[in-house]
């Protein structure tokens, strides 16, 4: 209101603001402590879920989340690869790939069999525009399932693009950037598999 009130007893206001900050800070800290275990559990469930969507259960007799190896990726960042084994043989691998979408990174889980054919791709985290770019989610459209069965030679490398760029994959009406990022990420993921195939499918 008046400068009087401000200059008069500023420490009162500081104390009040500080008190509210402390109180709500404590409330949030408490909420975080109460919820953090449940949230971590949900994140694990989600990971298990996305793994089981890209690797059919018939292909493995091991626990996918437990059997993970770390491999250096193309840009030097380590990639965690989950391996599906059946009778001591690696039948498939799954790992996270990322493409740049319209609104930041699109994280996907890619499942590839031992020959390098795609078993499935699923978006696990993205910030794409609801109603446009989020059509990569299988709950909204079946677009993402079209990659199943494809491999690095099918289509040929120069056709691993969206149609707008001269490739074979449809973009969505109204959104080209998201599919372009996703197609590029999947192609990169297959190249990663090709480069590390021996290391990934060997059994120690």
């Amino acid at each position: 209101m008046t400068t009087d009130a401000v200059t008069g007893r500023p420490h009162i206001h500081a104390l009040i603001l500080g008190g509210f900050c402390l109180g709500f800070g404590l409330l949030l800290a408490l909420t975080y402590m109460v919820t953090s275990d449940a949230i971590r559990q949900r994140a694990d469930d989600d990971k298990q879920n996305s793994l089981s969507q890209v690797i059919p259960p018939g292909l493995h007799d091991n626990n996918l989340v437990a059997d993970a190896v770390t491999v250096g990726g193309a840009d030097g960042k380590p990639v965690t690869v989950y391996r599906a084994t059946k009778a001591q043989r690696v039948t498939a691998v799954a790992y996270e790939i990322a493409g740049s979408g319209y609104a930041g990174e699109v994280k996907l889980m890619l499942g590839v069999d031992a020959e390098g054919r795609i078993l499935g791709v699923r978006a696990i985290a993205h910030k794409e525009t609801p109603g446009l770019g989020d059509k990569i989610e299988p709950a909204k459209t079946d677009w993402i399932t079209r990659f199943t069965g494809r491999s690095l030679g099918d289509p040929p490398a120069d056709k691993w693009k969206v149609k707008k760029d001269g490739g074979v994959f449809d973009q969505f009406s109204g959104a080209t950037i998201t599919p372009r990022g996703v197609v590029g990420a999947i192609r990169g993921g297959l190249e990663f598999f090709a480069a590390h195939k021996a290391q990934l499918v060997e059994v120690q």
Binding site: A5, H13, A14, F20, C21, Y32, P130, G131, A139, S173
Partner: protein, 230 residues
């Protein structure tokens, strides 16, 4: 409703203000950031609106409860603190215990902080009124916001995608599958409606429509603004 209490608080007035007479979007023109960004479909508008209504009701309740302690000089930071704390709380709790709903609504929740409608109602109403009217004001302003966003989303979705309430069953549960309609044949939509310009056009047209209705009903049109008390 509650006619005996009209001398002190007019609850019917609070409800009417929130839903129509002083609607957050169409009268106060507040909260335009989520209004434009999230109304690409009716379902998104509904989800954003519901999450906002919960935060508004909780923050109004808290501000009215503590209004004796909040001094004039620090009220704005305290309001922002309360709104941000409620948003974080809702975000954490939903992530932990309502995970399926969170996967759908999670996108919207952090955006509530960028909405100035909750802040405006705290300043204009909750800071001066008792707890119960403040709770109602927050709630009905939130429901009014929800209705506005759902209508804008519906208009944009029908024109832009030719559907109505697509994916509503993801937000509300499988029982609401019946709401998902296809109004126009596929690929006949005017895409601009779901792009940013469509948000401005749809909101502007609907705003003009509401004012025409108000004029027909003989109501005085006044730019109410954020600081008018109902």
């Amino acid at each position: 409703m509650a006619a005996e209490e009209t001398a002190t608080t007019d609850y019917g007035r609070i409800v009417r203000d929130g839903l129509w007479d002083n609607n957050g979007v169409f009268c106060m023109i507040l909260g335009m950031c989520p209004t434009m960004a999230m109304t690409t479909s009716a379902t998104n508008g509904l989800g954003m609106g519901l999450a906002t209504a919960v935060v508004m009701a909780a923050s109004s309740l808290l501000v009215a409860t503590f209004r004796g302690w909040i001094t004039q000089e620090v009220r704005i930071p305290v309001y922002i603190l309360i709104v941000a704390a409620m948003v974080t709380l809702v975000d954490l709790v939903m992530n932990a215990w309502m995970h399926e709903l969170y996967k759908v609504l999670g996108l919207f929740i952090p955006l509530i902080v960028s909405n100035c409608l909750p802040l405006a109602r705290l300043e204009a109403f909750a800071a001066r009124e008792p707890v119960l009217p403040s709770l109602l004001d927050g709630l009905f302003m939130g429901i009014g916001f929800t209705l506005s966003l759902t209508v804008i989303g519906a208009v944009r979705e029908i024109i832009g995608s030719g559907t109505l309430f697509a994916d509503a069953s993801l937000l509300l549960g499988p029982a609401f599958k019946f709401m998902e309609l296809r109004v126009l044949p596929a690929d006949t939509g005017i895409l601009m409606a779901v792009l940013p310009p469509g948000g401005f056009l749809a909101t502007g047209m609907l705003l003009a429509g509401k004012r025409l209705l108000d004029l027909r009903a003989g109501k005085a049109i006044a730019m109410a603004g954020a600081h008018s008390v109902g």
